[in-house]
Symmetry: C2
Subunit: 295 residues, 2 copies
């Protein structure tokens, strides 16, 4: 479907929202973009970089003649944003989001006065640990997966428009239920972030207890392993709480895995340890060969 949006309103003009606007502009898929956000400085950056045509700090006003509204704010802000736009959303507008947890996004819309049939939950699987309009770039979603989690209530026309939008931004589309989405992402994204935060804190505590600052001895492996611990604490707090049940399952599975390794080490079970490491390396190498791009 060829799509040309007349007026795209991006609520939250950060890395994700800003990159989406840039990608759609590049594809000539949008006529006008308004950015909404709390930070005037960030909106000014977005305007200067040509991400948005105009900025607003008034959600109700900004959305009043939109044909597409994208929520690209932290999940914790959904309720307030939805409330602010409920009275002025025009007939036929499509509302979508880019949040990392989908059950909670749907719940927020259902709890609001925004028509849930016009809401299409989406999650583009892309990002860096950087944030803000400064970090946005048009190619962020190129060949990346964007998962849509509509249900039977979702308007088919709205769904088609959101699909077309992400296609024009370069993304590969996939559909699944919100529950499946949240389970899979808990394993592959939310748990790794949590583990990275926990690992850095473990090293921090080891430094407090010992004579040497262990951070002095950290090398490339540590840098890579902990890169995601430089992500936004607020965003990850929201994600962790919004995907509580699936994430708790994965934390417990990870703890069980660590306990297995701990037992193998304590018992000098060389065979078991080697089998675990080999299985992990094989899975990681296979992932890399199929999906991973560079190492």
């Amino acid at each position: 479907m060829e799509l040309r949006l007349k007026h795209l309103v991006i609520i939250g003009t950060g890395l994700i929202g800003g990159s989406l606007a840039l990608a759609l502009r590049k594809a000539d898929a949008v006529k006008r973009v308004t950015g909404v956000g709390r930070s005037a400085a960030n909106l000014e950056t977005a305007r200067k970089r040509g991400i948005i045509d105009a900025s607003s700090q008034d959600i109700a006003d900004a959305v009043s003649d939109a044909d597409m509204v994208v929520l690209a704010v932290p999940m914790g802000a959904y309720a307030g944003v939805l409330e602010a736009m409920a009275d002025t959303l025009p007939e036929g507008v499509v509302v979508t989001d880019a949040g990392s947890t989908k059950c909670s996004a749907i719940a927020a819309v259902k709890a609001s006065r925004v028509d849930e049939h016009r809401f299409v939950p989406a999650h583009p699987i892309a990002g860096t640990e950087a944030s803000g309009a400064e970090a946005a770039f048009a190619e962020l979603f190129q060949d990346r997966l964007c998962i849509l989690t509509p249900d039977d209530e979702t308007d088919r026309g709205a769904l088609a428009r959101v699909e077309a939008m992400w296609q024009q931004a370069g993304a590969q589309l996939m559909q699944m239920s919100a529950v499946e989405h949240d389970e899979v992402l808990a394993a592959v994204s939310h748990l790794p972030h949590l583990a990275a935060f926990a690992l850095v804190n473990t090293v921090r505590h080891a430094g407090e207890a010992g004579r040497h600052d262990p951070f002095c001895f950290a090398a490339g492996g540590f840098r890579d392993f902990t890169r995601i611990a430089s992500s936004s604490p607020e965003m990850w707090r929201d994600i962790a709480l919004n995907n509580r049940h699936a994430l708790l399952d994965q934390i417990r599975a990870f703890q069980a895995e660590l306990s297995r390794l701990e037992a193998a080490i304590a018992g000098s079970d060389s065979e078991q340890l080697l089998a675990e490491f080999k299985a992990a390396k094989a899975a990681r190498d296979a992932w890399l060969a199929e999906y991973g791009g560079d190492a």
Copy 2:
């Protein structure tokens, strides 16, 4: 100290041993290099790449006119290698190593017939997840830390020669006790590797249980976080077992950290979760600014 080695023998001509030889050649700090290893193909690669002048699969013969012998084999091979060289090591030769755990390296030498006074334990903190002579490069140790863990028994002349060698390879030197080394490295290197292996296995099991292959949805964060899970399973098995006590302490500390996060999530303790994430981000960002180079 200006050093020029007459005959350097590298036991294990992989990433570490091969890169050391290349760095010393580049600095014109060595006249002749012999590479010893079990894989004839790898030795042939090392010869073709100009890493070594000659190769040997006979340790006793190779070391018989060496002035410096570097063990760059997995820790599990130390006992056999030391036994094989014990009878033919010439008077005044220096023996050193590049192993990731130092208490076990010292214990292996003490248990062997090689003179422990001539052995200088060393650990260059550098490496990639690649391995073999093919991966070696002269700049691997440039401005990297190399930790030496001599004790009161270590011959001062031998120590000075090993220090000079690593300086010429570009490394920054530091001394500490073997116990301190092993504790610090358990936190900053061994635990992250173990966690990466465990994390990949957790995702693998989630995939076996669910409808979707979670690896399909892994993005950049997962790639970075798990890069070290593509490391050599054999090498990491050896490291884990050789640094058992310090590593078990760190695994338990990491489990405690995860349990704290788990409790905060289960109890919807938003403040606690944010505080933990912020502390981790601050520590990681501070590390990056001081030591980390690029992000």
